[in-house]
Amino acid sequence: MNFIHVLQCPLCRVVLISRNYMGNMDMNEVDHFMPIMMRMEEDADSSPLVTHGSAHFLWIKHRNLYLVAMTKKNANAALVYSFLYKMVEVFKEYFKELEEESIRDNFVTVYELMDEVMDFGFPQTTDSKILQEYITQQGHKLDVGAPRPPATVTNAVSWRSEGIKYRKNEVFMDVIESVNLLVSATGSVLRSEIVGSIKLKVVLSGMPELRLGLNDKVLFEITGREKSKTVELEDVKFHQCVRLSRFENDRTISFIPPDGESELMSYRLNTTVKPLIWIESVIEKFSHSRVEIKVKARSQFKSRSTANNVAIMVPVPSDADSPKFKTSTGSCKYLPEKSVVQWNIKSFPGGKEYMMRAHFGLPSVESTELEGRRPITVNFEIPYFTVSGIQVRYLKIIEKSGYEALPWVRYITQSGDYQLRTN
């Protein structure tokens, strides 16, 4: 892998900052990148990987910045993209937002970071919390306590420093489930998927050992308990800190957590659940005169739960005008820039059904541009509820100093990629 790492601003077409990790490449090769991108944009084409001669550019875009890696070898592409996203994360941790200005304002630190996160094309330490221990935004005098590389950098536990102290020891856990749904225009569910994530906010002293117990079906089968409700996790992904081989062996989730906020694990379930919010729609388009939209929304979860901030986005033709709405509850807004009607329902209890009607005028001269049939999308969140039924059974916290620590758990279900195709 030999890559230079370039940050580029599209408007001024200038390389903001770059680093040549392997000396054997011509920095000017990057000049070919922007013209290729422009050409692709004109052709409405796009590819995250472009080639010029023997140089390969792998890029991602963050706001108006391009992060471009360049290589002439058969580099590990997955590693490159994953590294570029990690860079964005690190920069955001350091400068709050990654944009042209924050790069210019902190170019010295950016250089330092770029020197530390990668060496000769090999990614090194990319954990921003650890980096912050020895790369700070202030200058250092060597004689007065210049930073040394924290032992953490090369430790097996490379995500947590030693000697952290808190007066009150607590752990906050958020169990967040996103529902991805794809429904065909005829109303049949094509795909329904739950992507769960357990987020931690760790306020613990020292080097605590944590063990998390979930109502994991496989674990219950191993241990022979079958009485309670269990969840079959299809694919689980863990933070660096979780001992993967331990999990593989006996499904124990054991780890030394990073300090502060982090995502401990994510999981996926393919079990088909009843779509939480079901939408039926009739969109009738009378060419040259009007569009009539009828939408019925039904909540299909238990009545003791409530969905909050429900927003149902219904597509309308881009040349529609003079909107009129009627709703049984909530309010409607026409967002011409997105060509959608947004129907907001602040609170939507389970087992209810609401209606919305909308009427738009259409110009008598039809636009020649073909419009795609965009889907209806829905946003919502349901607190104190998980679709999968996943439960945190315990979180054991053991630290050698023997302090008591309290775990707090919150559950929430929200919409992920929730799409219903229209006719």
Partner: protein
């Protein structure tokens, strides 16, 4: 206060001003000046003139300033090599600083200064840093070896850094191990045959241990390195797989893909009937599906790789069709890839769903995507026969939309459907003809013309239709012109009476008015055919066409195997071997999958000479057979070992004929596996590498069951003994003599051919003992024509029966008739032919009669010697 102010100094005489500031006595001012210099460098101004002044600031106690000066040095040292020497002293000094951060910084920066003169001074500090007490310095020094190697490989070898680097693989610190592995892999890439990464079970074990402890990136280096290893046997393969599978649960997609690569490769060695094999298959699907929730660029990489995986092992994802359904907001490059995979996964079980989706996509707005969707419907029809009818009706629906590009695309695929299912869907031709006028793309026009020509007898106005195309003949593209010419000739052969004029017209257009040689030649050929022999013309032009195959765009198996070894890399995204897009990579070894645990399970192996060394699992080579042989030896007590007869090695290919490569060898049957035992001797002056072997078709379908196992390059005057296991499932062709085998051996120098003869006894299989009754019955049934007799001298009967059994010749019965001992024996050949023999022994002068059924050949049973 921010750093951006440094970018704003654009006054006149800037360089001059900076120079003054750099030489200022005040530390603060110096630092500000260096920042300004770096800022100018960042925006692309040339500040190399300040080199001596900046280097003067190098000896500072300010870490930030030091880093900036180092950065400057990295950028400009190459343009000022002489002055760069000035920096050496500071580097050497910094490498001994009490602060490990400084030591590491110095060694890291030194490696990035690509000036020959400096590299020499680098060696001593680097040697110290490689043994530094602080792991942070060691891990940086490890990478520095790779940097140095890139600048001056010879120096690194002479200084023994490679050995030090190898030692670091056993370092106690996982990060150091990971960087050492990364550095060694990088170096090994430029020395494909150096055996630098001397992977053995011990070092593999160390890597697997470090895998659990190092950072996500380190895990990727280690996994990528593991993927280059070839386990000795299926057991080792399984144990590595078991230790790699937990990585599938890593949050970093790149770790997951690298783990998938290792598993996909090592799986190749697991026997398919092993329980673990099935478990592993099941474990691979969920992480692959989860990759589709990653960022779009990573999704793209994942999809390109899944495309390969689905071709190699379709069973992994066969139930996951739905996850590849396209979402409205997917980027177009993700949509197109998903579509491709959907078609690959399409089967009778899920075709209804797939078709419904494709129909939906075909009405989207993105033209490229719609075209591909329509094409996909056609591919489904060709792939899943049961769905063909539904596909055709879906295509007809789409044609009714009259959307220009949809119609054209549909007609192109319908042509393919006609070819796949002749005489089934021709009823739709009328609908197609209605859209003749709207076709403006050459491919669609050509397809339509082909249809009209092919089915001219069913289209009443075929001549009118074709005539209408003829008007603008010269404006058409070559593709259409050629098609039109052929179609009209077909029409003429079918309806000669009405179309004479038309055919004259097109022939003259093609031959006289066109300056395209292809068109002219084809025109002349038709003309001559028609004028000399209309019957022959009919046979040629209206010949039955071969059916088109189901999967037209599969990646060629050898390439696919190589790409599987490159999962996650650019090669896997491009679907091209690295040698196709990386400069200077010619001669680099093509990666290969190891050989399967079940012999003959992957017939593609070893086909084609792209095949380079993968290792044959040693387990097949014989531990079991060897043991058995020993047992027989004890029991037999005869001078000759009781195993199967092995002829002595003979020279098959003299060095003179093969540019210095001498090959001698023999054949043996060990533990039921036929082995070709080769001795390769390099009698040339240069090193030989990249050995591979291939057989011509032969009487018993002998074929290498794996690639030739020559891992290390063969130096001058070196000799290597190789055992090549053979299978008998290769293509068959009768040879003369029957046991002749033509062999081609390739190395980096050339391809050489020779032929040799194998003892037929090698083909006698272990279960060749026939039941007595069956034997008698069969014996009687053999016609006399198939019987032959010959005599063998100097045989020692006492041990004959035992010896023969060692060669899989089984004695069924023995009797004495008229003072002669008679032995009745059965032999079964690997291709299922039985040979029955009667052995008459007369006073030390045995008379051997061989009788066989079904086959006409005479075995030259030479086991007696």
């Amino acid at each position: 206060m921010t750093d951006s102010k440094y970018f704003t100094t654009t006054k006149k005489g800037e360089i001059f001003e900076l120079k003054a500031e750099l030489n200022s006595d005040k530390k603060e001012k110096k630092k500000e000046a260096v920042k300004k210099v770096i800022a100018s460098m960042t925006v692309g101004k040339d500040v190399s003139a300040l080199f001596p002044d900046v280097v003067n600031c190098m000896q500072t106690d300010n870490l930030e300033l030091k880093k900036l000066v180092y950065l400057y040095l990295m950028n400009y040292a190459k343009s000022q090599p002489d002055m760069a020497i000035m920096a050496v002293n500071t580097f050497v000094k910094d490498c001994e600083d009490p602060n490990p951060l400084i030591r590491a910084l110095a060694v890291r920066t030194m490696g990035c200064i690509r000036v020959d003169k400096i590299t020499e001074y680098l060696c001593e500090p680097l040697r110290k840093c490689l043994k530094d007490e602080d792991p942070y310095v060691r891990k940086t020094a490890a990478v520095c070896v790779a940097k140095l190697h890139d600048i001056n490989a010879q120096l690194v070898e002479d200084q023994g850094f490679l050995d030090t680097l190898k030692d670091l693989i056993s370092d106690s610190n996982p990060m150091v191990v990971a960087n050492a592995v990364a550095a060694l892999s990088e170096i090994a890439e430029s020395h494909p045959n150096s055996n630098l990464l001397d992977l053995n079970p011990q070092s593999i074990n160390k890597l697997l241990t470090a895998l659990n402890e190092c950072t996500e990136w380190g895990q990727i280096f280690i996994l990528d390195c593991l993927a280059n290893y070839t386990p000795r046997d299926d057991r080792e393969s399984q144990s590595i797989c078991e230790r790699v599978t937990p990585r599938l649960s890593h949050a970093n997609s790149a770790v997951v893909l690298s783990a998938v690569k290792v598993l996909m490769k090592f799986m190749e060695m697991l026997p398919k009937d092993l329980d673990y094999y099935g478990t592993l298959l099941k474990k691979l699907a969920p992480p692959l599906v989860t990759l589709l929730s990653a960022e779009p660029e990573l999704q793209y990489v994942a999809l390109r790789n899944i495309n390969l995986i689905v071709q190699k092992r379709p069973e992994i994802l066969k139930h996951e069709m739905k996850v590849f359904f396209v979402k409205y907001n997917d980027p177009i490059y993700v949509k197109l890839e998903k579509l491709d995979i959907m078609i690959r996964l399409a089967s009778q079980a899920n075709i209804a769903q797939v078709l419904a989706e494709l129909k939906e996509y075909a009405t989207e707005v993105d033209v490229d995507f719609v075209r591909k969707a329509v094409r996909a419907i056609g591919r489904c029809a060709i792939k899943v026969e049961q769905s063909a009818e539904r596909c055709v009706s879906t295509l007809l629906d789409l044609i009714q939309t009259k959307v220009n590009y949809v119609v054209q695309e549909a007609i192109v695929v319908i042509k393919d459907i006609f070819r796949k299912y002749p005489n089934k869907y021709e009823s739709v031709i009328a609908t197609l003809c209605e859209n003749l006028d709207s076709l403006d793309e050459p491919e669609a026009r050509a397809a339509m013309i082909w249809i009209v020509g092919e089915y001219a007898e069913r289209i009443d106005n075929a001549d009118e239709l074709l005539e209408s195309f003829l008007e603008g003949f010269h404006d058409e593209s070559t593709q259409v012109q050629l098609q039109l010419l052929t179609a009209i000739v077909k029409l003429f052969l079918k309806k000669p009476t009405e179309t004479q004029e038309l055919v004259q017209q097109v022939l003259s257009l093609a031959t006289q008015d066109s300056d395209n040689p292809d068109l002219r030649d084809r025109g002349y050929i038709y003309w001559r055919l028609l004028s000399t022999d209309p019957v022959a013309a009919k046979e040629v032009v209206l010949a039955e066409k071969p059916l088109i195959s189901e999967e037209t765009d599969l990646i060629e198996p050898t390439l696919l195997e190589e790409l599987i070894c490159h999962i996650g890399t650019l090669a896997s995204v491009y679907h091209k071997p690295p040698s196709a897009f990386v400069e200077g990579s010619r001669g680099v070894m093509h990666k290969r999958l190891p050989l399967g645990g079940d012999i003959g399970g992957s017939p593609a192996m070893g086909a084609g000479f792209g095949a380079a060394p993968a290792v044959m699992p040693a387990s097949l080579n014989a531990p079991v057979g060897g043991g058995l042989g020993d047992l027989f030896d004890l029991g037999g007590g005869v001078g000759m070992p009781m195993g199967a007869y092995i002829p002595p090695k003979t020279v098959w290919l003299p060095a003179m004929k093969a540019k210095g490569l001498e090959i001698s060898g023999t054949f043996a049957r060990r533990a039921g596996v036929i082995q070709m035992e080769l001795v390769l001797t390099n009698k040339a002056m240069s090193v030989m590498t990249d050995f591979a072997i291939q057989f011509n078709r032969n009487s018993f379908g002998l074929a290498p069951a794996g690639p030739l196992q020559v891992l290390t390059p063969l130096g001058p005057n070196q000799t290597i003994e190789v055992s090549l296991p053979l299978s008998t499932v290769g293509p068959v062709m009768k040879m003369d003599p029957l046991n002749n085998l033509q062999v081609a051996v390739k190395n980096n120098i050339d391809v050489f051919y020779f032929s040799c003869q194998y003892p037929i006894s090698m083909l006698f299989v272990e279960d060749g003992k026939m039941e007595r009754q069956v034997f008698l019955a069969t014996w009687k049934d053999i016609p006399n024509d198939n019987e032959s007799q010959f005599q063998i001298q100097d045989c020692h009967l006492n041990s004959a029966s035992n010896k023969l059994q060692g060669s899989n010749i089984f004695t069924i019965a023995k009797r004495t008739v008229e003072g002669q001992d008679m032995l009745y024996m059965s032999i079964k050949l690997s291709n299922g032919i039985w040979v029955l023999a009667e052995l008459k022994v007369q006073a030390g002068n045995p008379n051997y009669t061989v009788m066989l059924n079904k086959s006409k050949y005479i075995s030259s049973l030479r086991f007696f010697q």
